[in-house]
Structure formats: C-alpha cells, structure tokens
C-alpha cells in the first residue's frame, strides 16, 4: 500500500503545474474532477472499503452545497457554510448507517435510494429555504480579507487544497485500524464480529465519514458552478459516483482518482461526436466492466505484475500487496 504515496505526490505536483497551461474551460473541467475525486473518495470508503452500498451520495453532497449557498446569501463566510454542510452530511450519514445494521446489499441499496429521492423532493418543494426548482444563483466563492478566491484559477487552487486535506485524511483513516476493520466487515461480516469488530460502530462510521466527504465535495461544487438547483442532486448523480468508484477500482485507494478522471473527462472528450457521445460513453463503460472487473486499477496491477515477472521471474502474485 505504501506504493500509493509516490503516485499521489506526482499527481499533486501535476495539479499544481497544470493551471499554467490550461485554458479557462479545461481548468473548469479539472476543478470539477477534483471535486468529484473528493466525492468518490467518500463513496469508496463506504462502499469500496466497508462494503456498504450507498445510492444517496448525491443527497449527502446536497447538504454541503445548500449549506454554503444558503448561508452565503446571508453573508456568512464560505468556510462556516462548509463546516455546517459537512456536519449535516455526517449526521445524516450516521442516521443512514442505522438501516445498514439491519439490511444488506440490494435492500440497503433500496433504503439509500429512497433517501436520495426524499432529499431531492425536499430540495424542490421547500421553496422558502432552497429556492425550489429555480435553485440558488450567485453562490459566493470564499474571500479571506484581501485574499479572494473569486477567479477561476484561484478557486481551483482552493479546491486543490481541500482535495489534499481529504486525500490525506482518507489515507490516514484507511491505513489505521479502522481501515482494517472496514475491510474485515466487507470481507466477512460475521467473522469480523466474532473477532471483536463492532459492526454498529464501524458501519455507522463508514457511512458518516463517506457522507462527510460528500458534504465537503458538495460545498465546493456549489461555488464552482455558481448556481445550484435540485436537478444536480438526483439519483442519476449518485449512480455517476457509483460508476466512478466501480470503474476506478472498488476498495483501492487509487481507484477514485482514476474513476473520477474518466467519468468527468471522457464525456468532455467525446463531446465532439454530438449525439453519439452518450452511446460511445455507455459502450466504453460496459466494455471496461466486462474486461476489467477490478476497475482500471486492475490494469495497473497487471502492468506491475508483468514488469515484476520480467525482472524477477520467481516472485509470486501473492506479493502484490
């Protein structure tokens, strides 16, 4: 696992340098990718590591977005909105963790799916608070006294800083004993409990932390677009996050980076093909799932194994970890 460190630092260096060469639109796509990386890391923790299916990641994201948007309208600093949004997402993540103690797999998928729909309906109908279907426009970007993050470039670096915080904290959590307990629950829930792993504590935490990351991503998403409406937080969006995590590689630390990049950038690349792009995109996803069930990280593994087997033929596949 320690080999995840160098690619991470390389990616950070690349993210620091890229704005020098990118035009405004490409910078926007990169900013969006970083926001999605944050969200995908959250879902990867809940689903990839702890094995708890969640189809309401977009709903958790909405708490972050609406908290900064609504508080921003009243002149409250962005960071306070973010903290409130993350706290709300964390709290609701805990609440959603409770059904996970009773139901599993597709039943849990139904519960979380239902929650996403409820949140969407509340956002659309509680007009006095959320602006209903019209949403909230002119979501303010953070300003620290004389330092303003209003420009696209400055806000990009602001997002990058938060992404670094999220990546570092996720790395810390997943490489602690919690990470091991999460994986144990995913691998064999009954056995985990019989060696002392409290299913209640860890499942609740897996949901709540995943949701808190979604809240963080949501809080950054709103000012990036400058405008939010309930349509951005539907089940479709949750499924998009699911796709990022599965495509990238479930339960692999590198997975969300690759998944978020592919799911965000691929449609942009295909945009030139007009109406065909959705079809090409869908076919590409199906092919990737058929031939790379372990996600795109699986390709990396294959390459690694290949290069290793050429240099030292005796190493077994088991030493991969």
């Amino acid at each position: 696992m320690a080999r995840a460190r160098w690619p991470l630092l390389a990616a950070l260096a690349l993210c620091l340098l890229l704005p020098l060469v990118l035009d405004q639109y490409k910078l926007y796509v990169l900013s969006l990718t970083l926001v999605y990386v944050i969200l995908a890391i959250g879902l990867n923790l809940t689903l990839g590591y702890a094995g708890q299916i969640s189809l309401c990641h977009a709903a958790f994201m909405a708490f972050g977005s609406y908290a900064v948007a609504i508080l921003g309208q009243h002149g409250v600093p962005f960071e306070m909105g973010l903290v409130l949004g993350v706290a709300l997402a964390f709290g609701w993540g805990l609440v959603l963790g409770f059904p996970a103690l009773k139901v599993k797999h597709h039943y849990l998928a139904m519960v979380t799916l239902g929650f996403n729909i409820i949140v969407f309906l509340v956002l659309r109908n509680w007009e006095s608070l959320t602006g209903g279907s019209f949403g909230i426009s002119n979501v303010a970007r953070p300003v620290w006294g004389p330092v303003s993050f209003k420009s696209d470039r400055a806000f990009y670096f602001y997002i990058l800083a938060w992404a670094a915080v999220v990546v570092a904290s996720a790395y810390w959590i997943l490489h602690s004993r919690w990470g091991r307990a999460f994986r144990a629950i995913r691998e064999n829930e009954m056995r985990a409990e019989v060696v002392g792993v409290s299913l209640r504590n860890y499942k609740l935490m897996a949901f709540a932390i995943g949701a808190a990351y979604a809240g963080t991503g949501g809080a950054l998403f709103a000012p990036l677009l400058g405008y939010i409406d309930p349509g951005a937080y539907t089940l479709d969006r949750s499924i998009q996050f699911l796709m990022m995590v599965v495509l990238g590689g479930l339960g692999r630390f590198e997975g969300p980076f690759i998944g978020a990049l592919v799911v965000t950038v691929l449609p942009e690349v295909l945009r030139g093909s007009e109406g065909l792009y959705l079809i090409i995109y869908a076919v590409a996803v199906i092919i990737m799932m058929l031939f790379m069930p372990k996600g795109l990280v699986g390709l990396w593994d294959l390459a690694w194994r290949f290069s290793k087997s050429r240099t030292s033929p005796s190493t077994s596949s088991a030493s991969l970890r």
Binding site: R183, E187, V194, V195, A318
Partner: protein, 245 residues
C-alpha cells in the same frame, strides 16, 4: 467457580427446537469434548454462546458474568474466541492482516484505534503464532490463496491472537489430512498445557477420545450423557443416538 456456565440454554428456529434446555459447565484449564450426531445442536450451542445467534432461553455465564444475548464482538472482548466448522476468513486480506484484525479490537476505544498506529507488539505476536503453527512464510499471501489445511491453521491462529481465556473449536479436524491432524492435536495439547481452556466439537472419535478427559454428548438438542471417554464409549444412550435402536 466454573469458567463458563451454560444454564438451560434453549434455541428455537421457528418450531424446530435446535437446543432444548442444555446445561453444562467448563472448568478453567480443561479440554472438554462435545460430540453428537449431525444436527444434534453442537454448532448452535457455540453460536448461542458466542453471540452469533441470540438464544431463545436460558443463560450463559462467563467468569460469573451473564453474557446471554450479548453481541459477538462483546463476547469476544470478554475473552471467548472460536473457530468455525466451515472456514471463515477475510479472503482478500493477507494472512498477517487476518491475524491483526483478530487482535486489534480486544482492547482500547474506537478513537484509540484510529489514533494508535504502532503495532509492533501485535505483529510480533502474530508472527510468533504463525511460526508456532508453521505457516509463518505465508504471512504476506492472501488468505484465499492458502490451501484448505493452511486456512484451518490460520482460523485457529486467529482464535489465539487475542489471548483468550476460552477457545471453542468447531470441528478443527474435519477435512484435514492425517499429518495435519497430528500437528493440530499437538498444538491443542501444548496450548492446553500452557493454561488455555478448550471446548472441542469433533466427529473424529480417536481425536476426541485421546484429547479430552471429559466428554458431553448432545442428541437432538438435548444433553444425553457426560463422562470420561471410557464411560461415553460404553453408554447405551450414546450408542442409540449414533446408530439408532
């Protein structure tokens, strides 16, 4: 005081009675055998004691404390570990990680497990145990890549990781080759000599008869006999239970 006291333990699955009023005591340091025909309730007994299944009635006392109906993790933290008839491991984790999971939740709080990174002590213990069981060289392999016998040994090793006071072994010899059986028997005897208390469910009579000084027989969810291996072998009730009248 007995280490484990099972009083009148009952378990119903709908109308089927898997355990009906089973009582037995396990004394500290003993190696108790539990035998009985298939479906007699042996594994259900283990499941009810370890919190995998909630009993329908009766009490389980461990070191005098009532642990009836506690969750499995709480029972484990009090010092009861077990193995499984059908191997239960964490297949996509390494052998060493499997061992470490079995140690990390025994002490401390949820927060301390997030903050404490140092694991030298646990890792050393895990490696010593793997050495003892003869599978130390496999520590970085995924558990799913182990052979059946090696998985049984790992399952056994995990049960030892938390330094439990009581270890429940559910058919440790089933499907294991004769060399490995001797190997495992040696381990059990040695650990028992060091003070570990065992309850052993086993179908291999040679193993039970040679290891255990006291045997309890279950049949159709009831305790029908108890005694030394010689007494059990001569008990007509036991013969009836196994071969029918």
């Amino acid at each position: 005081m007995a280490l484990l006291e099972i009083e009148n333990l009952t378990k119903h699955f709908f109308r089927l009675s898997a355990l009906s009023g089973v009582s037995l005591n396990v004394e500290p340091g003993e190696l108790l055998g539990v035998i009985g025909p298939n479906g007699s309730g042996k594994t259900t007994l283990f499941n009810c004691v370890t919190g995998v299944l909630p009993p329908s009635g009766g009490h389980v006392l461990f070191r005098g404390e009532d642990i009836t109906g506690r969750t499995a993790d709480a029972v484990y933290q009090r010092g009861i570990a077990r193995t499984f008839q059908l191997i239960q491991l964490f297949p996509e984790m390494t052998v060493l990680e499997n061992m470490l999971v079995a140690a990390q939740e025994k002490t401390g709080t949820l927060l301390s497990r997030l903050l404490r990174r140092e694991e030298t002590k646990e890792t050393t213990r895990a490696q010593e145990l793997l050495e003892f069981l003869g599978i130390a060289r496999l520590q970085d392999n995924l558990a799913s890549n182990l052979s059946y016998g090696q998985q049984k040994l790992l399952d056994f090793g995990m049960a030892l990781m938390s330094d439990p006071q009581l270890i429940l072994l559910d058919e440790p010899m089933a499907g294991v080759n004769p060399t490995m059986i001797n190997n495992l028997m040696g381990h059990i005897v040695e650990l028992n000599g060091r003070g570990y208390t065992f309850v052993l469910i086993e179908h291999n009579m040679e193993v039970v008869m040679s290891l255990c000084r006291r045997i309890v027989v279950l049949s159709q969810g009831e305790r029908i006999a108890e005694g030394t291996p010689a007494e059990i072998a001569d008990n007509p009730l036991v013969l009836d239970a196994y071969f029918g009248r």
